[in-house]
Amino acid sequence: MLNIPGHPVHTCEGPTRRELMRIGSIGLMGISLPHFFLWRDQSKAAVADGKYAGARGFESAKSVVMVFLQGGPSHIDIWDPKPDAPQNIRGIFKPIPTKIKGTYISEHMPMMAQHLDKATLIRSMSYTPNGLFNHTAAIYQMLTGYPPDKVSPSGQLEPPSPADFPTAGSQVSKIKPPKDPVLPFVELPRPLQESGIIGKGGSAGFLGKAYDPYRMYQDPAKPIKLEDLSLRKEIPPQRLKDRFELLKGINGSMPDLEKALGEYAVDEYYGKAYDLVLSGKTRAAMDLERETPKMRERYGNHTFGQSLLMARRLIEAGTKFVQVNWPSVANGDPETTAWDTHAANFAPLKNLHCPKLDRGLSALLDDMDQRGLLKETLVVAVGEFGRSPRLGVSTSGNSNSPDGRDHWPYCYSAVIAGAGIARGMQYGESDATASSPKEKPVHPNDLLATVYYALGIDPDMEIRNHLNQPRELVKGKPLADLWV
């Protein structure tokens, strides 16, 4: 670290204060300035000249909604039915036709069946884990692109650490930050979690806490409070303005310090905070009361549905990366909507999980499409793995009920849409028992590479970890075939 403590890491790369003066006159704390200088887009410099010239889909997305179905949804019971497989594999659900010709999904996903014409269904997600078989290891792999390397003596994964590889949203908010005064990366409604391990694979790791997601820790289906984003009751806008004027005067009377701190971009952060609080754009985006009851109903009156609706509003407001986590703890009780259906599979999927996922995800795709948002927003819905094709067997060491399914990372499904990705396509195919891909296997790293690629970020870009060692952003190949 060659930086002086107190010296923000990224401003060394950005324009100097003098250059800033040329960009525009400094108003109140520099608030009238465009903010791009503070959050410098690093993606351009990282792409070798012409590397992606004319490449399909490169830089087609402005923002991302990552719908992360933590817990591991059963692909065979939802996205990839196998009616011809033996009873102990195919389960009890019936397949129904979808808008993709020849592609059937579960009878409990009727709305998605009607809206798959807006998306590509990937049926060949697959990878072989590096030893660990639990949720957190898989989540870490899915969202950071690297296998976790630290396991505590008890066999549990370590909680998030400053040495962790950064989660995708943090990478994006550093490499390709938004231009508007909005939160770059928001995680709804709560962090990723397995047992007591919270947020592993979902933190900024060695990028530093400045790039952590904004976490609301509240249920969007209920009235929410937003303290640090809302002006305090006793501070009306005029009073905040007065305070900033005073502050400007105090700072201005110490020009030597102003000069010595010129590169630290303190004013710019203050300007951005001021904008965020005063403009209320993000706060307004989080206010679901502004939606009609009909719209809220359409997404579903539950935490997951309302989180998706909030995600759409945040994207509209300019947020770069919104991650909606399935609201239940990854290894929670399936009877209370965790996807981890070891102990019970069919009844909870039919009555609890599928209806919520079906309604929420189809509403998101349809609503974003109608608003034109889907043109420049990439939507991905995926879990950390699928579930064992055979019922009642143990693949991870967990015990399973006779109709339960265990963890299965070797083959599962994902829905990907928007940003020009093929509408109404099936990509890849699984074998007769949905146990492994028959063609076009997609490693989680390829999916992650596709997300970066769609945003105009070179997946091969070199980044430096906390020990200043060079690492690839992700070791994967973008699926350019998704754009046809």
Binding site: P5, G208, K209, A210, A260, V266, Y270, A273, V277
Partner: protein, 720 residues
């Protein structure tokens, strides 16, 4: 036709090959390294690339040779027709290569590898064909002005005595490219006034070359500032040579604020500021007295207990609640009694027994296993990062993988078992099966010091082996121990070490001022590791008391301490400063009322709150880098609109409430607020401005606004 071609080409190769002897060691490996085959993002990465793995930066030539030869059942070579070998077809893009084109078919590199294959891919003789020494001419580069350039010459001397110009194949990197840039042809160009270090690497050997770009501006005349001790002499000697004029001293009020925060983590009280300013003694005399007073202050003990708590990862996550208090108290006691640093470390390393009765033993409960304990020990106490060497030889140092395990072996006998009380653990020496195994072949590795000791400390092979390590590590002969602590302590007062990062001491990361570091190290040794003495010496120097105001001659200097840099208050300092200035309680949940953030025992307290937003380390590692001191959007949001400052200024029992009720005049109220927050009196203009604001509306609200603005001002957020 085809057959004929093949015949001719292999014949040609045979003829060519007969002339020059080509070996893997001497000729081929350097090319592969140069074109990037072994880089960390290509085949040198831990898992290789596309099924082909080489050692990182080619540290293990034998391994690389065998990978080439035996993987893919030898398909990489076609000795009859070398041009058909994958080893040539891939990098020259004759067939698809994920890594793209590395060299053209017409290049010398291609020819060399071609001949090597034609000669039957000889490995070479390590006794002859490996590099014995790397020489760079010139040894030190002085450029008279930015824009000038020079191309150093890199010569490798092989074991058989032959030398070769390897300028083209050597890797030459600048640690500060915006000062000295290395072009593709090894040309070193001065970009701006300043200093940089070139790291020259070739086949596992490296050399460093300091580069100085002198300020070409005419008219430099050295103005000698007062020198308070040897620190100033050593710094001035270098500054004058580089034509850097140091900045003058700060005034008394600025000094008091800076030194109070740096020694005790607290801002001075309004009374302390006024008393100090009123003291008629000569400035240097009263500053020295103040330094002694601050070192004797209980807050000094809290502040350095916090620092050592970070480095030793004192956290209930590892130690449990009772354990963390026991360890905290042990650290606190060591600081309070000014226990010599060598003794403190010796006690940690040789601790045995119950984690409750012998709290130092908690040292082993954090890392638990021999390898992480060794990594922590070397990084914290020696400033040496061994972590790279666990998997491969250190790329920028002489440390080998073998040395990693030899050092780790010192801790392999440390055992942990549950004690009698809840949460208690006993640290003991195992009596059997405690050998350290080498990961390559599972052989038992005997403990050995990183550097042989002058004092001939015997290394026993039994379970008491770590006692020998403690003796060696803390001995005055150890070339790292005193230097590492001198450098680390220095960094706490200047924001950066003389070697930076402070816990990455290696030959390829040289000190900015070797004479200064040498003198500080000697001082530590002469005073038997008395860290209070070291701190006292540092803060008494003129260098420490230098202003942030730069002049034409030192504005671009970042490494030589010719002027100060503002440093953001740490998370704990900031929280306590807000509370002190506002006369409120620190915004901390679940601690007794009189506990400040500086006294908090571990990161469990106030988790996810203000302290974490402002970069408090989570004590997950002993790296100094865990504490973040950058500025971020969540921080700005918190300061502007969060509850810590907003609640403090509006506290009904706080400073504002009392001031407004006191009936004092507005000017007096303003002065008190400035003294309490910025630790100085307001200027006439500031006072006038503030008084006019106060009188413009409801006084209590307006006074809150003023304090809010003072607490958000840069002069409050930064040590300057």
């Amino acid at each position: 036709m085809l057959r004929k071609l093949i015949l001719t080409s292999s014949l040609a190769a045979a003829v060519l090959g007969a002339e020059v002897r080509v070996t893997f060691l001497r000729d081929v490996a350097p090319i592969m390294n140069k074109v990037g085959c072994m880089s960390g993002t290509c085949h040198g990465s831990a898992k290789g690339k596309n099924g082909f793995k080489l050692s990182l930066r080619g540290y293990d030539a034998q391994f690389d040779y065998e990978s080439l030869l035996y993987d893919l059942s030898g398909r990489r070579f076609n000795r009859a027709d070398p041009g058909k070998s994958l080893m040539l077809a891939k990098p020259s893009q004759e067939v698809a290569h994920g890594g793209g084109l590395r060299f053209e078919k017409s290049s010398d590199y291609y020819k060399t590898i071609y001949n090597w294959i034609a000669q039957g891919v000889p490995f070479g003789d390590p006794e002859k064909d490996s590099v014995a020494e790397l020489r760079v001419e010139p040894k030190e580069i002085f450029l008279a002005k930015p824009g000038e350039a020079v191309t150093p010459k890199v010569v490798a001397q092989f074991r058989d005595g032959l030398t070769r110009d390897v300028t083209r194949e050597a890797s030459i990197e600048s640690n500060t490219p915006d000062v000295a840039r290395v072009g593709t042809t090894a040309e070193v160009k001065g970009e701006r006034v300043g200093e940089a270090t070139l790291l020259v690497r070739y086949q596992g050997k490296f050399a460093t070359v300091p580069v100085t770009i002198v300020n070409p501006k005419p008219g430099f005349a050295w103005k000698q500032l007062p020198q308070y001790n040897y620190i100033d002499q050593k710094l001035d000697a270098k500054l004058e040579r580089l034509k850097i004029q140091p900045s003058p001293l700060i005034d008394d009020a600025t000094f008091l604020r800076r030194v109070s925060l740096d020694l005790t983590g607290l801002i001075p009280t309004p009374d302390a500021v006024q008393a100090f300013l009123a003291d008629p003694a000569p400035s240097h005399v009263k500053r020295s007295k103040m330094i002694d007073k601050l070192i004797a202050n209980p807050a000094f003990v809290d502040h350095w207990t916090l620092k050592w708590g970070d480095l030793l990862q004192s956290s209930r996550k590892y130690l449990g609640e009772k354990g963390v208090y026991a360890f905290h108290d042990w650290i606190r006691d060591s600081i309070a009694t000014n226990k010599p640093y060598d003794r403190m470390v010796h006690e940690l390393l040789t601790s045995r027994g119950s984690s409750y009765d012998e709290p130092a033993a908690n040292f082993f409960r954090v890392t638990r296993d021999a390898k992480p304990t060794m990594e922590k020990t070397t990084q914290v106490f020696l400033g040496v990062r061994m972590v790279c060497a666990q998997c491969h030889d250190h790329p920028f140092e002489r440390w080998t993988q073998n040395q990693y395990y030899q050092m780790a072996a010192f801790f392999s006998a440390v055992g942990l078992r549950p004690g009698y009380e809840v949460g208690e653990e006993i640290v003991f020496d195992q009596r059997s099966d405690y050998g350290m195994k080498h990961p390559k072949d599972g052989r038992l590795v005997k403990p050995a010091f990183l550097i042989a000791s002058n004092g001939k400390i015997p290394v026993p092979d039994d379970q008491s082996r770590r006692d020998a390590l403690a003796d060696w590590l803390t001995s005055k002969d150890n070339p790292f121990f005193a230097k590492a602590i001198a450098n680390r302590v220095w960094s706490y007062f200047f924001g950066r070490g003389i070697i930076e990062p402070v816990d990455d001491i290696r030959a390829s990361n040289p000190p900015s001022n070797p004479a200064l570091l040498e003198a500080l190290t000697q001082d530590v040794l002469d005073h038997n590791f008395d860290l209070q003495h070291l701190m006292r010496t540092i803060v008494n120097s003129r260098a420490y008391q230098t202003s942030i105001v730069a002049n034409d001659w030192n504005a671009s200097d970042r490494d030589n301490f010719s002027h100060a840099f503002p440093r953001r208050l740490s998370a704990e300092e900031l929280m306590d400063a807000v509370a002190a200035a506002a006369g409120a309680r620190p915004d901390l949940p679940a601690v007794p009322e009189d506990i400040g953030a500086e006294q908090v025992v571990d990161p469990h307290i106030g988790k996810e709150g203000f302290l974490d937003v402002f970069g408090r380390p989570s004590r997950e590692s002993s790296c100094e880098c865990e504490r973040r001191s950058d500025f971020s959007l969540p921080q700005a949001l918190n300061l502007v609109n969060g509850r810590t400052i907003s609640d403090a200024v509006a506290d009904p029992k706080g400073r504002i409430a009392k001031l407004v009720l006191s009936g004092r005049g507005d000017a007096a109220i303003v002065e008190d607020m400035y003294l309490a927050s910025l630790s100085r009196t307001p200027t006439a203009q500031e006072s006038e401005h503030a008084v006019s604001y106060l009188s413009g509306g409801a006084k209590a609200a307006r006074a809150q606004d003023l304090l809010w603005a003072l607490l958000n001002s840069k002069a409050f957020l930064y040590i300057y």
